[in-house]
């Protein structure tokens, strides 16, 4: 099947797709259209990079918790059922 070129989209359309894009939720055609727009629009490109940065910063809050005591409590709790 012939693969057609993605159709151009506006900045408004592009910005509506930013969160889906950074979360890996955009389907092929929709993603290609956005990627094509980002290749020619500095403002939207910078916006996407910024939202990725915020997402990465939030991801750094994912820290290991000390669950050793909690594990013991949970085990005892399950025994009571």
């Amino acid at each position: 099947m012939k693969h057609s070129t993605p159709k151009p989209i506006s900045c408004e359309q592009a910005l509506k797709r930013v969160f889906d894009f950074i979360d890996g939720q955009l389907k092929d055609r929709s993603r290609e259209e956005l990627e094509q727009h980002l290749a020619v629009c500095r403002h939207c490109f910078d916006r996407v990079e910024f939202e990725k940065l915020v997402k990465t910063r939030l991801g750094k809050l994912r820290k290991q918790t000390d669950s050793a005591e909690l594990r013991k409590k949970i085990s005892l709790l399950i025994d009571s059922y």
């Binding site: 969160f19 916006r47 939030l58 820290k63």
Partner: protein, 210 residues
């Protein structure tokens, strides 16, 4: 409901494998170590009572997260008598930190939006997350901190993917607005942003007088 020894062993294995995940999410939602442990314990108690309702063990994480978030919501509402926040009540619907901070081409090379994010401490961001209404806090934590997909969040919370998508968008928008307000109050806005504002004022002044 009395669980058999085999059932107890099964649920023990399933839960202990995921206890770190549950504990982390509970910490993010409650913001306190004692409350987080209590929330996990309540979740385990409820999961043990309903263990025979778990039909697909491949989805045990989503099942446990659903119990945990439901327990959090009901306990939180009971304790704080917290009013249910309407999804339409919050301002700043189209707010974006990027739009507030990005600078004109004249100052290209400076990057105040990146500067601000790098200046924020974990504690500042945790406070902004804690200030989110619970519907938004839950999806932002599950998506941005725990790295769950929209599908996994939808299955965990038993809500449509479209609702997950809109809550994530709204949650991020409100979070950015909180961070912006905090940055202004704490006077930690990047210098290049202040410079851009000065430049803009000068241009407006010039336009008025020419």
């Amino acid at each position: 409901m009395q669980l058999s020894a085999d059932e107890k062993q099964s649920i023990r294995v399933l839960i202990l494998r995921l206890v770190d995940d549950l504990h982390r999410v509970a910490m993010q939602l409650t913001g306190r170590a004692d409350a987080a442990e209590e929330l996990v314990a309540d979740t385990v108690a409820r999961a043990s009572e309903r263990f025979r309702q778990l039909h697909d063990r491949a989805k045990v994480k989503q099942w446990l997260l659903r119990i945990l978030t439901n327990t959090f919501i009901s306990t939180y509402r009971q304790r704080k008598s917290h009013a249910v926040v309407s999804l339409d009540e919050h301002d700043g619907e189209n707010f974006s930190l990027f739009d507030q901070l990005s600078v004109p081409l004249l100052l290209w090379g400076s990057n105040p939006e990146r500067e601000l994010i790098n200046k924020l401490l974990d504690e500042d961001i945790q406070k902004a997350i804690a200030a989110l209404p619970e519907q938004f806090r839950i999806v932002v934590v599950l998506c941005d901190i725990e790295g769950l997909t929209y599908q996994e969040i939808a299955e965990s919370l038993r809500i449509p993917i479209g609702t997950v998508r809109s809550r994530i968008a709204r949650g991020r928008t409100i979070l950015q607005k909180h961070l912006w307000e905090y940055a202004r109050e704490a006077e930690i806005l990047p210098r290049s942003h202040t410079k851009a504002l000065t430049l803009q004022k000068e241009q407006e002044h010039e336009a008025l007088h020419t």
